[in-house]
């Protein structure tokens, strides 16, 4: 892509994908520093030397015309830094997910892991229904793997996506502030991540404090399929998903009032995998 003005690059690695964010526009330097800060848990300088990274162009400029032109050329662009960082997060995620199509089993899930063993629990939930809140509570003690997407290899190794957490600034705003996990006091991503269990989160303020229900695998496939990315691109996708579930004790649906109640449930799964 040809964009006018200076270009500053930042190398990231997430979901095992090298990503280069190219910052353009009048405020490219401020943008570069801000992206580096918000994505610091994914920083990977070597990505800029990778022969085939996923490339994301971002433009921060006061001039609406420059922003409009950049958008027409496929860049993520804005006159507002906050909006740009908000828009960048799903773009990086989408690029990393697309690169993994046909390779990783990808669940729309938060991931938290034991800091020593690397055992990781995937907490599946549709967008806006509790993943980030649960992550912020659980990853104070457990390693942070993602609040959005967990990648699973066929050997049940887990690939982290430790993106900044998207946090709503107010009930009346659609804008989410991007905050690195390390800034929120969450624990770093452990090494040697492997799947220890899969939970579907179902928050019900009027329901039981916490209740765990097993789901038969044949039904779990229908439950989980809408919460995956590029499932159909995997060879024998239902068998791949079923194998992951069976190997980790099957899918469980956890109904809970407050995210704090998830702690013993997740701990049990992690301890069981140790």
């Amino acid at each position: 892509m040809s964009l006018s003005g200076p270009q500053l690059e930042i190398g990231l690695r997430t979901l095992d994908v090298p990503v280069v964010v190219r910052c353009h526009g009048r405020h490219a330097e401020l943008l570069r520093d801000s992206v580096a800060h918000t994505w610091r848990d994914c920083t990977h300088e070597a990505a800029v030397d990778d022969p085939d990274p996923a490339v994301v162009d971002v433009v921060l400029d006061d001039d609406e015309t420059v922003v409009e032109q950049a958008r027409l050329r496929g860049a993520t662009a804005s006159t507002s830094l906050e909006h740009l960082l908000h828009d960048l997060s799903p773009v990086v995620t989408e690029r990393a997910i697309t690169r993994n199509a046909g390779r990783l089993l990808m669940l729309h899930a938060a991931g938290v892991a034991d800091g020593e063993s690397g055992a990781c629990v995937a907490l599946v939930a549709p967008s806006g229904t509790g993943k980030t809140t649960a992550t912020r509570i659980l990853a104070r003690e457990l390693g942070y793997a993602s609040d959005e997407t967990v990648g699973i290899r066929d050997d049940l190794g887990v690939v982290a996506h430790p993106k900044p957490l998207s946090i709503l600034t107010s009930e009346h705003s659609a804008l989410k502030v991007q905050t690195p996990a390390s800034r929120l006091g969450l624990q770093p991503t452990p090494t040697g991540l492997h799947l220890a269990g899969v939970l579907v989160l179902r928050r019900d303020p009027d329901g039981p404090e916490v209740e765990v229900a097993p789901v038969r695998t044949v039904l779990a496939l229908a439950e989980l399929a809408p919460q995956t990315s590029y499932l159909s691109r995997l060879p024998r996708p239902l068998h791949r998903l079923a194998d992951a579930l069976v190997a980790t004790g099957g899918l469980r649906v956890v109904t809970y009032r407050e995210a704090d109640a998830l702690r013993p449930v997740v701990r049990d799964l992690l301890d069981g995998a140790a």
Binding site: R216, V218, A222, A225, S232, R236, P237, L238, H239
Partner: protein, 95 residues
Amino acid sequence: MRARRVPVVDEYVEDGEAAVFVDGRVVVLSPLATHLLGLVADEWTDLKTVSQGLEAAFGVPPTGSAAEATAEALQALEAEGVVEIENSVNRPISN
């Protein structure tokens, strides 16, 4: 009436129940529907063949004939997008 299977992405069977990945979604079939799907071939299969197989496995239906029950069950499978019925006007529209 004749029916044939629609190509699916994948099919997983557990305890006689199938999860079928078709048209970007996963459909879970009852034991009867799973058995029925197993009787339908990739090529056009006669209702009589399917009906006899279903009757052998599940017995005579409490009301109506086996052929009527089979036709009804096939139409339900067609609505889920896992089989195709010859000259049917009820075929679901794929995206």
